[in-house]
């Protein structure tokens, strides 16, 4: 009985954490290249509404997911244009995009409210692995997007730390003038990273509206985009720790649902993710200081040649 409860809770934690994982992986790339993207919340929710709408119109979930990613990517490009090309303040630009996304999605999504999704991603258990006792049901009985997000973790880690492209990205975020002096195209690297960040945020949103919930609810991201920003710091800008952090949050969310029937005040439970955010930030910051792993030095500073 207890074991079943634990297995069920852990199994549920993974899908609950998946939108956060997508978002955090994207934000890690954007911030590693030196661009702070506070528009994640807006990009996620635009992904959610676009994914839902396109799926409803075409009856094809995968098309919906693709369009959600593109919608996120498009907003990413807007942020890139504002903050990289026009060198606008990144905080302001990001906040503006979040507000835009929340408003726009509310308008676009009006007619989807209460509509059930026409089709959804099916759970695709992995043969053989699914039968491992205890671990099998927790880890290997999920939908394809969960597997995709998990596969992205080692892939993005590898690119960041073991390839030439990764050295360029990290250097652009630490010392853009130096990277520029060595012939790295600072603007291109930043554009690509912010675009990728938008795409992944869009995917995270699509996961919410097409798989996790699945339905369109106005404001359904409910602060997930902000938790992503905190998780990026907790992850110390490294994909591996992003996975741990995202699933921890997933577990908190599951706990929230499981404790409700036991009579714990819902107001208290709604605070849980945010209390946990503060705890995570404190824990993360201590470690950041100890290991001398700080935020990328050029984070949120626009780059221009000929400026001292």
């Amino acid at each position: 009985m207890i074991l079943e409860f634990i297995v069920a809770a852990l199994k549920a934690a993974i899908p609950a954490g998946t939108p956060l994982l997508f978002g955090t992986l994207g934000e890690i790339y954007a911030e590693r290249s030196g661009v702070l993207n506070l528009g994640v919340e807006g990009m996620m929710i635009m992904g959610a509404v676009t994914g839902f709408g396109v799926t409803l119109a075409t009856g094809n979930v995968w098309l919906g997911i693709t369009f959600a990613a593109m919608a996120g990517g498009l907003l990413g490009l807007v942020h890139a244009f504002l903050s990289i090309t026009l060198r606008a303040n990144q905080v302001v630009s990001g906040l503006a995009l979040t507000m835009f996304g929340l408003g726009m999605s509310g308008m676009l999504g009006k007619r989807y409210i209460g509509t059930p999704p026409p089709c959804r991603l099916r759970v695709a258990p992995i043969p053989l692995l699914r039968d491992i006792p205890f671990l099998g049901p927790i880890l290997f009985q999920h939908d394809p997007l969960v597997y995709l997000s998990v596969l992205l973790v080692p892939l993005l880690w590898f690119v960041l730390f073991k390839t030439r492209a990764g050295i360029s990205i990290r250097s652009v975020g630490e010392a853009p003038a130096t990277a520029d002096a060595l012939g790295v195209n600072v603007f291109l690297v930043r554009y690509l990273c912010v675009f990728l960040g938008g795409v992944l945020a869009g995917l995270g949103g699509a996961y919410l509206s097409l798989v996790y919930v699945p339905a369109w609810i106005e404001g359904m991201t409910a602060g997930a985009g902000w938790i992503v920003i905190a998780l990026t710091i907790f992850a110390m800008w490294s994909p591996g720790r992003a996975l741990i952090g995202a699933y921890l949050f997933g577990a908190v969310k599951v706990l929230q649902y499981r404790l409700q029937p036991l009579g714990v005040s819902p107001n208290l439970l709604n605070m849980l993710p945010f209390i946990f955010t503060i705890i995570v930030l404190l824990a993360g910051t201590g470690e950041v200081i100890r290991k001398r792993i700080g935020a990328p030095s050029a984070l949120s500073i626009p780059y221009a040649r000929e400026e001292k």
Binding site: K162, T163, S168, R170, S171, T178, D180, G183, I293, K308
Partner: protein
Amino acid sequence: MPERGERGEVVVSMRGIVKRFPGVVANDQVDFEVRAGEIHALLGENGAGKTTLMNILYGLYSPDEGEIYIRDKRVTISSPRDAIELGIGMVHQHFMLVYPHTVAENIVLGLSSADFFFPLREVRGKITEFSERYGLKVDPEAKIWQLSAGEQQRVEIIKALYRGADVLILDEPTSMLAPGEIEELFTTLRRMAEEGRAIVFITHKLDEVMAISDCVTVLRRGKAVATVEKSRTNKQHLTRMMVGREVLFRLRRKPVEEGQIVLEVKGLHALNDKGLPALKDLSFIVREGEILGVAGVAGNGQRELVEVITGLRQATEGQVVLLGENITNCSPGEIIGRGVAHIPEERIRMGLVPGMSVAENLILKAYRRSPCSQRLFLNHTFIDQHAERLISEYEIATPSKDAPAKLLSGGNIQKLILARETSEEPVLIVAAHPTYGLDVGATERIRQLLLEQSKRGAAILLVSEDLEEIMTISDRIAVMFEGRVVGIVDTAGAEVEEIGSMMVGAGKEQERGRS
């Protein structure tokens, strides 16, 4: 020195270059030519426009007017990538390094010939090869922030060599090196020139021009004054072209009387950034009105010593005593409050707030007190007057007192820091490489300032790798090697050779003499 063959074709030709910045014309109709196989010195005072001219050649700045020809072909260099493709490499005056990354990662950055996957693997081997071939010792796995300025410079040089540039620009590459290391660098440069590369060597130091260059171009206030063959000129002639007047380097010192002990360091131990012992049982005293020079090769604990005294690093053992009071491991604020001035090694990173105005930078230490502020408010009338007075007194060349400090040239940044630090009449001045990178005029001025301060009664700890500087103005010289003071001598009776051999550990020097 081996005979060099006939010098080759003109590789770089810059014609009529003009570059304007807000408030200054940094380059004014400059013509500049470099030939293959030659070492071409670019000489000029602070702010003369040397760096600007070379940044244009390297594609970092675009010129307002003028043309660039590479091997007689007109080119437009709009980014460093273009420059690298044209075979131009540059070692910058302010290091262009990614501090949290390793040496190997820094060298791979932007290197299109490196493998895409696991790029560091082959590069590590090659770095070791390069460092052996040119005598530039570095550990490919070390993080840049853990290296001393001298070591960082080596990484920069290797980085440029690695890219196989056939035009190599070095912006004041010797300033942080010890005499022996400079010789090694010169050997490297000569070897590279013999291989047919063209080398542009930016410097203020006339000795270096005379020692290494084939040809000299002198810049003054943005204009090219002349280009002359080294063999047809001498130091006096060059100085006159550079400064427009004669400079005398004889700074008279009267012997100091036994003053009160201002700083006493007793059995000091401290760790470096890697957590290894950097200071080992260090002791010395500095008296009122005395200048104690600390000589040594970069990376022998000088940086850590300065940081411990100024409260920026914890001592693990031992004591720092200021005027009889123990200030070991006090906070920097408390130490400043007791009248200790710090002229830091890294001017831009630690010496000022680059984005704030000159006037604001001048009151960074005094803004909390009257007359800079009254209760909650800053007294702008006083701050402006104060800035104007210091700007003229210390001859700081700036477009205005309200210009951001980051726009000043290296020499003027240093004058600004000195103005702020010394106008407060400190009891102790800790000066780290105060004239590093400065031209003759500014160097002379800054040494004079330090002497004036010591005459006033300040005790001065002068850390420098420029032995000549230490011999010129200090009363006693402490030589550091591997975290220890290996000897303290009176300047009056000291020989350069004696100190030089202590700097590299006397034992090693003898071995070298024998072989």
